[in-house]
Amino acid sequence: MTEIHSPRGPKTHEPTAGQTVGPFFAYGTEYDRMHQVAFPHSPGSVVLGGRVFDGAGAPVPDAMIEIWSRDADGAIPRARGAFRRDDHTFTGFGRAFSDDDGTWEFWTRNPGTLDGSAAFYAVIVYARGLPDKLHTRVYLPDDEAALAADPLLSSLETDERATLVATRQPDGSLQHDFRLQGDNETVFLQFAPGGEDARGER
């Protein structure tokens, strides 16, 4: 169903530079049930949550977190309606704000893959005091063989790797913290040009 598109020739337009979301994003970006990627308590739904901390270990009370992931069967969601939740369509995308305790939370599903590679949530962190967005990933902790074979994780030191893998709680939920700076600073990502050798189904 998909094809890869790689235009020939050099880029012709300068990308627009990013800027902080500022302190007042909450009223401009909030929408109903934005953190309910999957309908709460529906079969297969899980809670993914955690906290955001600054370089002094203090909670960041004004961060915005976005997640985007495959469905449990590895399919990439293509259904519209992430802004108008119908409470049954899985759109893969969600947005949450941290509260005064730095805590954020989603209802979503455990992402899957089609080829046995390590499953993860693609994540973007925004905050007041953060001049531009930060990309990262939150991997599921369950398949150790897949995690060991992951190109990104296997390129990291043990302590760095730990910042990208969530912890499964006894109740099945996933817990994961983001540290913007300092000890156990989250590994943030920059995407290489290319994509010709990006994995994917055809």
């Binding site: 880029k11 293509r78 949450a96 704000f97 973007i124 010709e196």
Partner: protein, 274 residues
């Protein structure tokens, strides 16, 4: 649920920097960081389009990563973006002057139009653009914005639109005012509108700010200057376009947004919904 407490504001003091230095000190720091970035770039180093480590923006001090980002090949999910369509929003959401049930908002009525493009100048259709802004007096409807400028009962300052087949978007709104913040003594933000845009891939996701031509506050503002290159800063400034000005109604501004990302993107055939 955390959602119910999202608007319970942290203390107002959180918005103030721990030191309250003068504008001249902040301006000197900006010049110093820019000079350093320029010399690193001249030496062949790849300098970020926006600097995460930018001390003149005081609340960034403890909130920026100290390590370089890891360069990774995007996985397939990252080469796709959430799918949007007209179903996700109401058409009226692109007119910020109609979002309250009262009368006309105060201020300079304007339209902002432009296109969402990729790095090859190709238009990006069916993508969500969100915006939020202060009112004409420079006040946000937010608990943490407590400076004594009037709230406008007829202006909320948030809107959304989906780009059309040519990547075109259009908002009707009110020109925002500059406002004070607590970064340093006499810190004022240039008038701006926050934009959030999606591209065809999650790697292209951008949140940025659009500014207005000729603003005297540009050189003084740490946030605008987190972007070290002049040409990148210039690209955040809308162009006044008299052709877009509507007689007896509104001033017209034009601003295109370009999203970058990996050189290749996964595409699917369009399914028809708009």
């Amino acid at each position: 649920m955390a959602r119910d407490t999202a608007h319970v504001a942290a203390p107002e003091s959180l918005l103030a920097s721990p030191d309250q230095v003068s504008q001249s000190q902040i301006s000197d720091e900006i010049a110093s960081v820019h000079a350093d970035a320029a010399s690193r770039e001249a030496a062949g180093e790849a300098v970020s389009r926006t600097l995460h480590d930018f001390p003149p923006y005081r609340s960034s001090l403890l909130r920026h990563p100290t390590k370089s980002p890891k360069l990774v090949d995007p996985e397939t999910i990252e080469l796709f973006s959430p799918a949007y369509g007209q179903r996700d929003i109401a058409a009226i959401e692109s007119d910020l002057t109609l979002q309250s049930t009262g009368g006309e908002p105060q201020g300079e009525r304007m339209t902002v139009e432009g296109r969402l493009l990729d790095s090859w100048g190709r238009p990006i259709a069916n993508q969500l653009i969100e915006l939020w802004q202060a009112n004409a007096a420079g006040r946000y409807i937010h608990q943490r914005d407590q400076h004594p400028a009037p709230l406008d009962p007829n202006f909320i300052g948030a809107g959304r639109v989906i780009t059309d087949d040519n990547g075109h978007y259009k908002f009707t709104t009110i020109k925002p005012g500059p406002y004070p913040w607590k970064n340093h003594v006499n810190a004022w933000r240039p008038a701006h509108i926050h934009f959030s845009v999606f591209g065809t891939g999650f790697t292209q996701r951008t949140v940025t700010q659009m500014y207005f031509p000729g603003d005297p506050l540009f050189a003084l503002d740490p946030i605008y200057n987190t972007i070290p290159r002049q040409r990148d800063r210039d690209n955040l400034i809308a162009r006044y376009n008299h052709e877009l000005t509507v007689p007896e109604f509104s001033m017209g501004y034009e601003w295109d947004i370009v999203v970058d990302g990996p050189d290749a993107t996964w595409f699917e055939p369009e399914e028809g919904e708009r």
